[in-house]
């Protein structure tokens, strides 16, 4: 089962194979997208389920129509931000600038979401649609705040790496060079951000247009 | 079964008895006796008894399932007992490995075929039984399986209105009268419309073999064909709040003449209340209140 039993006891600990953590990051973000999808699918399900049941004729009680302008602005900003970040992540020299632009756009989009709540003409109790609208957009926005944090960490490490130099000695237990691990992190982050923006566009289509 | 290379078990192959044959024989004996016991001794006493046509159907269904499960359980248990006795390590101080048997394609195939056949039979049988008469279960607003009613005798509609923590019964065919206790005529097809005013309840008339959840805003239909006069235990079968444990009562199946007398008396007795009730509807929505603690 094990390696050769005759080797003398080594005084040092052999580092783990290179590439494990890179692969782990790559796999993790994809599985994490699976998790997040099931989370948002629950709201999608709630939308269509409550709409089809229309209990007590209360899918919409009164005038329940959010303004398309704000919704469109949010979705467009998210989509643009994701495209910029993803493209920037593919070109190392542009990543920091593209990431900053993406971060600002994402920040504005999420602020706009909260601004929208103050502008709405209806309340959360006004039927199934209003419930789903508030539930979906609010959890989505909070999720987005988490993503903002994630993007920020990537930009901060890029910025610090640029200032202090990339190829510092690797810490104990990390066989991968910092630079590869950092690129893997940025790739994962931009990949997830693209997914997140896709969900945003889908939710715009469903909540505002359908 | 597989025969590993001789000698690897430390046991001479010559004296090895035919384990497989022995297990099959034991299994046959146990299953035949067990199945016979289930069908002829246990079967007639299985729940929920013969209070209605649907209840009798459930007894049949339970008997079939139990009879089928006896050979399955016997196969595993006989095998386990045999294996644990015959294949036990007789000298635990010494570590000797058994033969490295890693599988057997034909056994796996046979197992797959057998279990698939059993499962498909069960699902098919259950579906046929279910689609025949609905088996007394709640079927939602658009029932797909109803027992055949004689044309001269349309089904008796009874609306079961559950609320915390009691059932009330409304008879749309008798002026929409609402009564706190239930009586049903014998030998009649009854159409229950189960709904709720607040949280989820479940209308369980045990002896009739009826169970239907009461959801607010939902009309849940269940059919039952009553037989002779009978006392029926009614319980709420879905946790519905603090006094869920006290939500039970007794209903009665009485002769058709007695039922006619009873329902007339109820109509007269509750006439003033009936006027104040909302008109008969499939569902009722109480005014919403603030939610939370």
């Amino acid at each position: 089962m094990e390696a050769s039993a005759s080797a003398p006891l080594a005084r040092h600990i052999e580092p783990e194979p290179p590439g494990w953590q890179l692969r782990a990051v790559w796999v993790a973000v994809r599985l994490w997208i699976g998790s997040a999808s099931f989370f948002f699918l629950s709201f999608l399900f709630a939308y269509f389920y409550l709409r089809s049941i229309d209990s007590n004729n209360s899918w919409k009680i009164g005038q329940v129509n959010p303004s398309i302008g704000l919704g469109l602005a949010i979705a467009a900003l998210l989509a643009l931000s994701a495209i910029v970040f993803r493209l920037g992540a593919m070109r190392p020299s542009d990543t920091l600038g593209a990431g900053l632009a993406a971060f600002v756009m994402a920040f504005v989009a999420i602020v706009l979401q909260f601004v929208e709540y103050t502008q709405l003409s209806f309340g959360a109790s006004q039927g199934g649609y209003a419930s789903v609208f508030f539930g979906w957009t609010a959890t989505y926005a909070v999720f987005g705040v988490g993503c903002l944090y994630w993007i920020e960490t990537q930009l901060a490490s890029l910025w610090r790496a640029r200032r202090e130099g990339l190829n510092r000695p690797v810490r104990e237990g990390v066989p991968t060079s910092d630079i590869a691990l950092m690129r893997a992190g940025i790739d994962a982050c931009s990949f997830f951000w693209a997914y997140y923006a896709t969900v945003g566009v889908i939710s715009f289509i469903i909540l505002y247009l359908v | 079964m597989d025969h590993p290379a001789a000698g690897s078990t430390g046991m001479p192959e010559v004296n090895e008895p035919n384990h497989f044959l022995r297990i099959v024989l034991w299994w046959l004996v146990v299953s035949v006796i067990g199945t016979a016991l289930v069908v002829f001794v246990l079967g007639p006493g299985l729940p929920p008894g013969n209070g209605s046509v649907e209840a009798s159907g459930q007894v049949t269904d339970n008997t079939v399932l139990l009879a089928l499960s006896v050979p399955v359980a016997a196969a595993v248990l006989v095998y386990l007992t045999y294996a644990l006795i015959v294949f036990r390590e007789r000298e635990p101080e010494v570590y000797v490995d058994g033969p490295p048997i890693r599988g057997n394609a034909s056994i796996q195939l046979w197992w797959l075929v057998t279990t698939t056949v059993i499962v498909l039979f069960l699902a098919g049988y259950g579906s046929i039984r279910l689609l025949a008469d609905g088996s007394g279960g709640g079927q939602g607003p658009n029932p797909i399986a109803a027992p055949a009613a004689s044309s001269s005798d349309p089904p008796l509609q009874v609306q079961v209105i559950a609320q915390q923590w009691q059932f009330n019964y409304r008879f749309p065919g008798y002026g929409g009268v609402e009564v706190p206790d239930l009586e049903l005529p014998a030998n009649t097809l009854v159409e229950f419309h189960v709904t709720s005013l607040d949280v989820i309840h479940s209308f369980w008339a045990y002896q009739l073999g009826v169970k239907a959840d009461a959801n607010p805003g939902v009309d849940n239909v269940a059919y039952v064909t009553t037989k002779g006069p009978l006392s029926v235990n009614i319980r709420c079968a879905e946790l519905c709040g603090v006094w869920h444990g006290y939500m039970f009562e007794t209903a009665h199946v009485v002769s058709k003449a007695d039922f006619a007398t009873w329902i007339r008396a109820q109509e007269t007795r509750f006439a003033p209340a009936t006027k104040t009730l909302p008109p008969y509807s499939k569902t009722y929505f109480p005014p919403p209140e603030r939610r939370g603690g």
Partner: protein, 634 residues
């Protein structure tokens, strides 16, 4: 063995108590709770002094209190340090100071050593398992008589709810938490999980969740049982907020635990450890992890909708305002049915992993066993409406759900076939772990067969919501999970702790538990058939004899747990008999490590040979036990 640990002078006790540890976590947790309550109170126009008098009347304040409390606790535990470092742009790192610290202190703080987290899990979950078990004892005490005599209706329902919620929430990680965290890395040749900080995070989050659930008793409890059906939950007092908080946090913990395990297994297998050589336990963990991180988010979403109903007054579950009680039932059971397989699958894995060791044979039908586990996992997403057969939802789909539910018995049957095949002509040793595995087969057989009655709609009309279904899932979950949980404890604890558990006490524990378990739950099948619904505080007086029988048996079951506790205290804390490196003569990789296990598990990444179960392959000299080479993997 050499490690990189350098002896340092131990600082004085008070110095060691200051820092990011459990004490700081509790302190910041309490402060956070008060802050959350205060914000919630301000937000809704009520001040905090009002709260102390009318505790539990403002859901927003209570929810915020829980949220800030948990966040404060996690900050105190030190989980914010690394994220803040990352915000400042420090590069990703795996090294944690805590990982190299020796001594008892590391069990009370963020520790990234998978072996430490596993033992934290074992003890932490054990505590809640015993609290949940105590609830069960109280429930059975109340059911000694047909009318209320010890507890009121509300107390009784709160006990029922806490028992169910605690067991279903905590024991979900009951095998994955302690045993997968400990065993999976050495089994696949890794020294750590892919994300060690997240591994520790899942544990401490689970503990915080457990405390949140217990606080329900200060807010009037909740009367919904573990299923928490809406709109009853909307109507409940503030105790239901604790239910939401608990299950949502458990959901987060489950999601991350599942992700972490799946990522580790997928991406960190040592050279030679191909998919077809993976030990069967790792396969079961992978299947379970997939169910976890896919199903748990739906639970979180369903509970968030409930929380919004109770706070910002959305109407997801209010039929009169366009909501639906079915929405919760659907979302809950789309999570809930994978959940019961999350609970059952690791049990399959443990049984099939241990059986070759004690039958001294390779696993019979490896590929069949793997496909069985994956099949169960896949099918479990397509059966959820069998919980709603009589609810009036989608009546025309019932034949489909009947079929899909019964189809699950096919892959489950594979596990049984592999179980039986491995015993065939083996040399079966009746050790304590083996006894628990054999009991699994017995219990799960009856659990599975009774499940057929619940999956068949005509039978389900009577058995649904009755004691029959209660007995059924106790046979599968307690008989399937808890028995294998103990099998795993008796099997792996000598390696995990370095000390032996008493074999004699273990056998006493097993026989008391096995007999008392069957004696408790077998009568409940009959009670359900006779018409006793679940979760009732009163019952028909004619059911009393059977109920009393079940109660007395349940008390004996409780005593068997005390025997186990005595065994643990006596063997691991008092007697402390050092364990051999490989007392079971197992050929599995984790048993080739040295005992006690060094911090870095093994010095070189192992290379695996093609055979995960090499029993009976090379002729073993008769009369001489196979002893693992000392010095671990070297």
């Amino acid at each position: 063995m050499s490690t990189i640990a350098v002896p340092v002078a131990r600082p004085p006790l008070w110095r060691r108590l200051v820092g990011f540890n459990l004490l700081a976590g509790i302190a910041l947790g309490i402060i956070g709770y008060v802050i959350g309550q205060w914000i919630g109170g301000r937000f809704t126009g009520v001040n905090i002094a009002y709260y102390s008098k009318t505790a539990g009347q403002n859901d927003i304040a209570i929810m915020l209190g829980y949220f800030f409390g948990v966040v404060g606790f996690l900050i105190g535990m030190g989980f914010a340090n690394y994220p803040i470092q990352r915000m400042l742009g420090y590069p990703p790192t795996l090294a944690e100071h805590e990982a190299e610290e020796e001594g008892v202190g590391r069990y009370f703080r963020l520790c990234t050593d998978h072996k430490v987290v596993a033992i934290q899990y074992l003890v932490g979950i054990g505590v809640f398992f015993f609290i949940g078990g105590l609830n069960a004892m109280l429930i059975r005490t109340e059911l000694l008589q047909p009318n209320t005599h010890v507890f009121g209706a509300n107390q009784y329902l709160t006990l029922v709810g806490m028992h169910g919620t605690m067991m279903m929430g905590m024991m979900t990680s009951g095998i994955l938490g302690p045993f997968a965290n400990w065993v999976v890395p050495p089994m696949i040749g890794a020294r750590r999980m892919a994300f060690p900080r997240i591994e520790s995070f899942t544990f401490w989050l689970l503990m915080a969740a457990g405390v949140v659930l217990i606080t329900t008793i200060f807010f009037g409890g909740f009367q919904t049982g573990w299923t928490g059906y809406q709109p009853l939950g909307d109507q409940n007092t503030a105790g239901y907020d604790a239910y939401i908080g608990f299950f949502a946090l458990v959901g987060v913990s489950m999601t991350l635990l599942g992700l972490n395990l799946a990522v580790t297994i997928i991406s960190m297998r040592a050279p030679g450890m191909t998919w077809t050589r993976l030990p069967i336990f790792v396969w079961s963990v992978l299947a379970t992890a997939a169910l976890m991180f896919l199903a748990a988010p739906m639970l979180i979403a369903a509970l968030l909708m409930g929380a919004m109903d109770r706070t910002i007054q959305t109407a997801f579950y209010v039929a009169g305002q366009g909501g639906s009680s079915y929405l919760f039932q659907n979302l809950f059971w789309v999570f809930g049915h994978p959940e019961v397989y999350i609970v059952a699958l690791p049990g399959f894995g443990i049984v099939l992993e241990l059986l070759p060791v004690f039958a001294r044979k390779p696993l019979w039908g490896y590929r069949l066993a793997v496909s069985g586990m994956l099949g169960v996992g896949l099918l479990s997403f397509f059966v959820w409406q069998h919980h709603l057969f009589v609810s009036g939802i989608n009546a025309d789909l019932r034949p489909f759900y009947m079929l899909s539910t019964e189809l699950i018995s096919l892959p489950t049957g594979f596990t049984f076939l592999c179980f039986m095949g491995t015993l065939w002509r083996g040399r079966i040793r009746f050790t304590v772990p083996m006894l628990f595995c054999l009991a699994w087969a017995f219990n799960f057989l009856f659990g599975g067969i009774s499940g057929v009655f619940l999956s068949d709609v005509p039978s389900d009309v009577t058995t649904h919501g009755s004691f029959f279904s209660m007995a059924h899932f106790h046979y599968t979950i307690m008989g399937g999970l808890v028995f294998t949980f103990f099998a795993a404890i008796y099997y792996w604890v000598p390696k995990m702790t370095g000390f032996n558990l008493s074999e004699r006490l273990g056998k006493v524990h097993f026989w008391t538990m096995f007999l008392a378990f069957n004696s408790t739950f077998a009568p409940l099948f009959a009670l359900g058939f006779m018409g006793m619904p679940r979760r009732v505080v009163t019952y028909n007086p004619s059911f009393q004899a059977l109920n009393d029988w079940a109660s007395v048996s349940a008390f004996i079951l409780g005593i068997s747990m005390l025997i186990f506790l005595y065994n643990v205290v006596w063997s691991l804390l008092i007697k402390r008999e050092p364990a051999e490196a490989n007392p079971w003569h197992s050929k599995s990789p984790e048993w080739q490590l040295a005992t006690p296990v060094p911090v870095y598990d093994f010095e070189r990444t192992p290379v695996f040979d093609p055979d995960p179960y090499p029993y009976g392959v090379e002729p073993v000299p008769v009369g001489r036990p196979v002893v693992a080479p000392a010095g671990g993997q070297a």
